[in-house]
Amino acid sequence: MISDRVKSNLKRTFFQSLLPKIGLVLLVSIILMATFAPLLATHDPTRTGYYDEQGAEYPPIGHEYTGSIAEDGEIVEITVEPTSEHILGTNNVGQDVYSRFLYGARVSLLVGVLGTIMALAIGVPVGLIAGYYGGRVDDALMRVADTMLAFPALVLALALIGVFGESPVMVPDPFVMIGLADGMPEAIPIPGTVTIVVGLVSWVWFARVARGEALAIRNEEYVKAAKSFGTSDRTILLQHVLPNSLTPIIVLATIQIAVIILLEASLAYLGFSGTTLSWGYEIERGQDVLRTRPWVSMFPGIGIVLTVIGVNLLGDWFRDALDPNIEGEGR
């Protein structure tokens, strides 16, 4: 399915420019970070705490303090500056910002990829069928797509989450299960509704692209030939139309991962997430202490930016290499 021409294009555009290399390095680092989060983390990302002036955990766990001063008069802080113990400081409930940064990458990448798969699974069949059959089917499906476009994705997502709730899904952590990462959470919550909803609001873009491709391909000689042999529509769609429209769909899917990661972060920022481990949620939490403790918001934001830059650079590379209309950078 991946022709030699495509392979050589991918190779050529990769070595031609610095940007795809940066994108790949960024993305691989973030994927590694997300995968090995329990091994790299210095603290349980969900554990809250109190700290003395040096940033060391102050009281034995289990004690409860209401103010910022402990019983014996020593000053106790919840949100501490970056120290050797907490290299990126702690957030406003005393959780380790660095460890949460690592786990946040898991949420971002999982929702980005799963949401895009959702959107692909709905959009591509709809688009192919609309473009291939044309006529009434096409009209009806495209009007539905228009309606979806008139909804700001964020607004529709908010309304859907409002109706269906957040329903987080607990995903068990393999490293903890095999005993390599004691003291880390046994399972982390992934926002269930959000993952489905970001797919539901993004399928239209895939439908539009798939439709355009199907429209162009259905009049090709080989499709007409296949039809004249009595090949079923299903077979033609799956064996001819789909493979030949894959290139722009792959390019779009890559870009869409970036869009969905940003959408998830926005939803979490607005308080509709289902997991407190999301970078977007952490940024919202840091907003309360922005003036005095800017690192709480700053680091998760950097995480989002780097992840999305990585995905976008990869998307640009694919587009330059795969899209025959642009044909790399050289023309």
């Binding site: 008139a150 909804f151 964020l154 908010l158 922005l290 003036r291 989002i304 999305v308 976008n312």
Partner: protein, 328 residues
């Protein structure tokens, strides 16, 4: 097909789209948990009162009757009453429109004014430092979540440097202009500018980046076409070719993309208004969501859809003007 017919078809399609949005929102409300009468009256209302309100609001009617009642209301501009504040939804939407429109317009102006020259420079000086700079900027712009950008701008300009306010809309553009014209005082306008600067940059950055990218790649495509070589061979000055022909042809697809991205702009406005406590439609929508105030939510979403459809019909009109082939 002539322009009139073309536009009429688009308007009919637009009405269909708005009907779709209305129906989806109504459906979501119908399946959403929680009893409207209880939401309206708050916890602790007596059963009699709840029953009374249900009867009065037609909530005991079958769902399809409620649906047609709602549609009927919409046609005459009656969006119903907010469950939370019991005010007319139209009024609650209309009073918030100026703030959002101001924000969206300023953001779009900022985006267009920066992005198009940047894209042109980038495309005409390819692989030179200015091109790399523009490319890096646009990459950062499409990759930065706007709420985080907003917070960082607040931190930088509002807290550390301390030159700009960190939120709120102190004065509307209309009032600012009135003070300028009537009293010859620019203080209102300056206050307005100070307050809108950071929100507009926050909302506009993504679009600046997007338009820069589109302009760059569109220009590069166009510059490679035979007519450019031909015009140059004919002796037309480079500037004329670039700006009169190439840029014009580049703008056609960009305008279409921007029309379709109006939804993203509205989504961005919801976020930006939340970050800056900007009293527009977006902030009202979030409040309505938090309060599960469905009539208000529906009203705002339907209004956004109407705006989206209208803008896109305008875009189509501009498109058919710029590219007469569409009408043939």
């Amino acid at each position: 097909m002539n322009v009139g017919k073309f536009l009429l078809r688009r308007v009919l399609q637009g009405i269909f789209v708005i009907w779709g949005v209305v129906t989806i929102m109504f459906g979501l409300r119908a399946v959403s948990p929680g009893d409207p009468a209880t939401l309206m009256l708050g916890e602790g209302a007596t059963q009699e009162l709840i029953e009374h309100v249900r009867e009065q609001e037609g909530l005991n009617e079958p769902i399809y009757v409620q649906y047609f009642d709602y549609l009927q209301g919409l046609i005459v501009g009656d969006f119903g009453y907010s469950w939370r504040s019991n005010r007319e939804v139209e009024a609650m939407v209309i009073e918030r429109i100026p703030a959002t429109v101001e924000l969206a317009v300023v953001a779009t102006i900022v985006a267009v004014v920066i992005a198009i020259p940047l894209g042109v420079i980038s495309a005409t000086r390819r692989n030179q430092p200015s091109d790399y700079g523009a490319t890096m900027f646009s990459l950062l712009g499409i990759s930065t979540p706007n709420f985080w950008l907003g917070l960082m701008l607040i931190l930088l300009f509002g807290v550390w440097i301390g030159v700009l306010p960190t939120g709120r809309r102190a004065v509307g553009f209309g009032e600012a202009m009135v003070t300028l014209v009537q009293y010859g005082s620019a203080t209102g306008l300056i206050t307005w500018l100070q307050h809108i600067a950071l929100p507009a940059i926050t909302l506009g950055t993504y679009f600046t980046a997007l338009i820069t990218r589109l302009t760059r790649s569109g220009m590069i495509d166009e510059l490679g076409k035979p007519y450019v070589t031909a015009s140059r061979a004919k002796g037309l000055p480079n500037v004329l070719v670039r700006y009169k022909h190439v840029l014009r042809n580049t703008m056609i697809p960009i305008i279409t993309v921007l029309g379709l991205q109006m939804g993203t702009l509205m989504g961005g406005a919801v976020i930006t208004e939340t970050v800056f406590n900007w009293p527009g439609l977006g902030l009202r929508l979030i409040d309505a969501l938090d309060a599960r105030d469905w009539p208000l939510m529906q009203g705002i979403v339907v209004f956004i859809a109407i705006a989206f459809v209208t803008i896109n019909i305008f875009v189509d009109a501009i498109y058919s003007y710029l590219n007469p082939q569409v009408n043939e």
